[in-house]
Amino acid sequence: MKTYLGVDVGSVSTKLALIDEKNNALESLYFRTEGDPINAIQKGLRRLKEKISKDIKIIGVGTTGSARYLAGVVVGADLVKNEISAHAKGVNFFVPEVRTVIEIGGQDSKIIILENRVVVDFAMNLICAAGTGSFLDAQAFRLGIPVEKFSQIALKSKQPTIVGSRCTVFAESDMIHKQQIGHSREDIVAGLCHGLARNFLANVAKGKKISSPIVFLGGVSENLGMRKAFENTLGEKVIVPKYNTVMGALGAALLAKENIQGKTKFRGWEVSDQDIKCTSFQCKGCPNLCEVIEAHIDGKVVSRWNDRCGKYSSLNPQ
């Protein structure tokens, strides 16, 4: 069977998705990057290979996420796409009527506005990571709750307390304060979710036309407390579709399928067992002082990037 692979390597989690020629999602994976994107990609490929039958052949690869260039080099991508377009593509296919997309991942949050199935506006968090997955992770740890149980606890609250959410530091100190004066854990957790939803709408979504249907994606959309908080703050129903956490990878796979020309550049499953390393050096050719990155596979330089003038990246095999 011929399939297309989408790889989404984010700051916190790595997602892989496989679609067939009829755009059906066959398989998807979601696991933590653990600060090592190369290893995560290798691990992902290894796991994916175990899960699928032998007759499956990959004939196109798309990568996205903040490590999309690196992932593209490692896997051998036919298409490297930014995460906004990839998510828009994915959600457009699986939830065609969507008008607003809220996506909150490990360290970034974004809003995408669509009209007639076309992206017309978008925004990403600029300077503040409040409300993203990493922050929730850290707070869950502080409260001694496994992040998976966060949702249940938040839903128990009848009277969420108000937690300041202008920025992570203030939210955290405000939360501690609330703990110290005796608020219950449920109320604090629910309050935190509400604060984060407010923060998102006030910062990232400021000035954007939010209209129904609203779709909520990304790792944080797994959190029932956050879903409820968004529904309460927006006063609208918030849909969390199937494949909510791997939508970017699915989008990348769909885009790869649409744009592929000729044979795929996929390096094959053996990538997961090869020795892949990245090193960097500072180019002193001009006052720009770019930090050029070199990728090595089994000791051979396969690609260089991050130079402004193209002195090194132009040497890459096309």
């Binding site: 903040s66 906004i84 377009s85 992206v119 978008f122 990403m124 000035g207 006052p287 720009n288």
Partner: protein, 356 residues
């Protein structure tokens, strides 16, 4: 007295030749790069505007090589915090232990200062006029060069040719000392540009850059936005440049004309180039552009004031709009992601209108 001055994109070349012709001993400032930005931000007050921090970073290497005076323009009469740049910069540098003086020019002290310079540097009025004339010719040439590069980048068949011509010409421009050489260089570079093979039938999206003048013009602080968008296949337009800025007040009714154009959105000046940003966006919308990118230094008061207005125009006129604020914390990758998504947005919108 050895002077240095702020680096400002390719204009720095013209500033250099102006000071040379005015008989100053000078050291070129360091070109803006990540290290300059880092060093400048380290010394500067955190909440001051980004350009001030970059300027400080530009001066430092020149000061270490012996420059003791900084030439800075002071914008009096409203405008924005650039008015205080010279005072703050002098204070910041002195507190850091550098014995430097700032020579500030403004529209009120300009004539008397020039007379002083003429006396101390023994420059005749004839030489002065020649220097100023050459300066404006150079500025004009630099702007035209950049425009040419903006046109050729998305259309050239072999990638990188336009930038090669641009960089070669700019390099030669630093060696150019008189009008005759300048006009020869002009001819030569236009010839070289015309030799670039282009794909004439290619559909090229047009994007307008608006916002704060320093960040709009300087590729060092906006991560080479011109080039980035150009290589993504977009024709970049920038209406705002030094010539436009200087023309703003001449003839005097320009001010009135500008206000009339933006009257339905903003009834007063907000300083900086706030009104110009609105005027430019309306103009780009009228001319059928595919999108507008708004650049501002983080915390730039005039641009922040007009940003909601620009968003409103974007929604009214259905003109894609992206606002990017820049400072020492801005990561190039974050900007790259937004630009890529914005280009996708413009492309899909254009396809949609082409199909319907």
């Amino acid at each position: 007295m050895k002077i240095t001055f702020a680096d400002w994109g390719n204009y720095t070349i013209a500033f250099g030749s102006l000071f040379q012709k005015l008989g100053f001993e000078f050291i070129f400032p360091e070109k803006t790069n990540p290290r300059v930005i880092e060093e400048g931000a380290k010394l500067s007050p955190e909440l001051f505007c980004f350009p001030l921090k970059v300027n400080i970073g530009n001066y430092l290497p020149a000061i270490k090589r012996g420059a003791d005076t900084i030439v800075m323009w002071e914008n009096i009469g409203g405008s924005c915090r650039m008015r205080y740049y010279w005072v703050i910069q002098e204070k910041v540098l002195r507190e850091a232990g550098f014995k430097v003086k700032v020579l500030n020019f403004n529209s009120q002290n300009l004539l008397s200062k020039i007379r002083e310079i003429q006396k101390s540097n023994q420059i005749s009025s004839w030489q002065l006029l020649g220097a100023v004339r050459f300066f404006f010719k150079e500025i004009n040439f630099i702007e035209k060069l950049e425009e040419k590069a903006q046109y050729f980048r998305p259309r050239e068949k072999e990638r990188g040719q336009a930038d090669q011509v641009l960089n070669e010409t700019l390099k030669k421009l630093t060696q150019t000392t008189n009008l005759k050489e300048l006009s020869e260089l002009k001819k030569e570079s236009w010839q070289k540009f015309s030799e670039i093979k282009i794909d004439g039938n290619k559909e090229v999206l047009k994007v307008g850059i608006i916002g704060e003048i320093y960040t709009v013009v300087d590729g060092g602080v906006n991560f080479d936005l011109d080039k980035k968008l150009g290589t993504m296949g977009l024709n970049v337009h920038r209406k705002l440049n030094l010539t436009q800025h200087l023309k703003g007040g001449f003839p005097p009714w320009n001010e009135w004309l500008l206000q009339r154009k933006v009257n339905s959105y903003l009834k007063t000046t907000v300083g900086g180039h706030g009104r110009q940003a609105i005027e430019e966006m309306l103009d780009y919308s009228k001319k059928g552009f595919d999108g507008v990118i708004h650049l501002l230094p983080f915390g730039c008061m005039p641009e922040i004031t007009v940003r909601p207005i620009l968003q409103k125009i974007s929604q009214e006129k259905e003109l894609p709009f992206l606002s990017i604020s820049l400072d020492e914390q801005t990561a190039e990758v974050g900007m790259q992601t937004r630009l890529e998504a914005f280009v996708d947005l413009m492309k899909s919108k254009q396809q949609l209108t082409a199909n319907s």
